[in-house]
Subunit: 357 residues, 2 copies
Amino acid sequence: VFNFSAGPAVLPEDVLREAADEMLDYKGCGMSVMEMSHRSGEFAQIIQTAEQDLRDLMGIPGNYRVLFMQGGGTAQFSAIPLNLLNGGVGDYIVSGSWSKKAAKEAARMGRARVIASSEDDGFNRIPDLENLHIDEDASYVYLCHNETITGTVYHELPETGDVPLVADISSSFLSEPIDVSRFGLLFGGVQKNIGPAGVAIVIVRDDLIPEKTPDGVPIILDYRTTADKGSLYNTPPCYTIYICGKVFKWLKAQGGIEAIGRRNHAKADALYGYLDKSDLFKTTVRKQDRSIMNVPFVTGDADLDAAFIEACRQAGIVNIKGHRSVGGMRASIYNAMPIEGVNALLDVMESFERSHG
Amino acid sequence: VFNFSAGPAVLPEDVLREAADEMLDYKGCGMSVMEMSHRSGEFAQIIQTAEQDLRDLMGIPGNYRVLFMQGGGTAQFSAIPLNLLNGGVGDYIVSGSWSKKAAKEAARMGRARVIASSEDDGFNRIPDLENLHIDEDASYVYLCHNETITGTVYHELPETGDVPLVADISSSFLSEPIDVSRFGLLFGGVQKNIGPAGVAIVIVRDDLIPEKTPDGVPIILDYRTTADKGSLYNTPPCYTIYICGKVFKWLKAQGGIEAIGRRNHAKADALYGYLDKSDLFKTTVRKQDRSIMNVPFVTGDADLDAAFIEACRQAGIVNIKGHRSVGGMRASIYNAMPIEGVNALLDVMESFERSHG
């Protein structure tokens, strides 16, 4: 089947095969990675290699730390204000459900202000980034790089001067090249482009990590301790990190992020190209803000949408139903979705349009 | 090899085999469990079955909720005071490193007091439980049921009257029957007796869950939201929960907790029996407080300890080295350690004592 789930999502078959082969005996050590002490030499090798491969893939500068944390992206909605506010305010650009949730949680953790929003347009676009009013005491400007539900992405970034830019890249992680040095902090849950749910990766410029743990920050959300302990203050989700590491190796074997980015653009272009000429299906997002990872589309008729989803299911295309807030369909075409999956979807769309158009 | 790691730790081979077999295709759905939406029917079945099997195994009363949370036991060190203090104080019985850490974190999150401690005796025993002075405004009394590092367990529980008893059962989870109704809250990281690291299970009496989320509690540590959303507020560590569920099925197939408890006592009795008559090896724990899961022992001579650990390694016995704070050796004999593993260890001990005693 072709799995268009928005996350947890499709993983490379080669990675799953390797994991199955190594399940009872990792490289002759007689144990599963699930059974290994996180203080063992074998696991040290796994986590250090994963970090180095991620650094290579993204070109992460040496003055950024890579943290493997628990609780998903949602835990970072709290951790970011707890670690970074330092008495200031968090300025939020709200482009969809996820940045809206992050802003709400930051307000609970300290002080947050929405400085731009596209909510009045149903989040069908990135908010206007010209003339942003950034607070004088802003500790950071926050955005969600790719909104998974409504399918928008920032093709340009806002200018924030000396104020660090913080971005949730959960659903665009490793999908195409990104200039890490433009950001103070990048983070994402791994369960879309990288691995099974259970890890969030935080890439943070080292001067933004508080020198000492701020009062009242729960220890597992504390960047200082996590950085000082190499993400091993307490037992990390070792097996999840191991699978992420395999995906990093797979990405390198695919030619790295430039090559993957070209393939992702080709997949997205094929879908949007069809949608732009279709009389039946329409995209829901402003053209210049379209995500290359999540492609929502609708017929405008709930019964037709349901019939189309059923036609997909019969063709082995699953998890194509849109989020309830948008309706219709959503094709999540992460790194591990092959072009064959997109072509299979296009075949069903064309055939459905012929019979129902 | 026989893996005596204190955690992450040995898992049942049958469970690992099944997981490997299902890695690419879970029950004919064409996907790995790693790739499934946490909102899918398949995953709903997995998490609901896991919860029900755990309820059956432990006899969890209907007025207790079962929460699957992230961040390990350490996250609960923060979550417990954040959710339960409600302006009162947490009374801590400190019997080892883990309860000491929990008390320290609770003091950071609110107010905590150590009401008994065995630290002056190097945590070689459970503190005296007679004449505990429980604070008038105590919100709970906290203990760590089984201290993994020093190898103690509570064979009797303190009397706390109307004050709820809260216990960390990370390393004694499902090791023998426990009367859940004696506790207000039980929790544990799963990476010792239940599954791969990445999930903490919280079993909490429903009247202790705050009616609404307390101010300032990070959302992923919030019991109210987690309970209301069936542990699916955000994406949970689906694959880890799936493996936990398989271990619950395996435990049921072994005859349940009574049967496993008998086997665990037999394994522990074999080890302690030898240690009690050995002239070379000694236990480090007061007799009435000995853990049946973690058995530390020493020769009293660091060079002999090292030679013994090397003799073990040659016999395929790994991760037997003790924690640095105790030294010597530690045999963690969790549910999935077969009696054959304990016998193999005893063989090496006997042969080593003959040649070095």
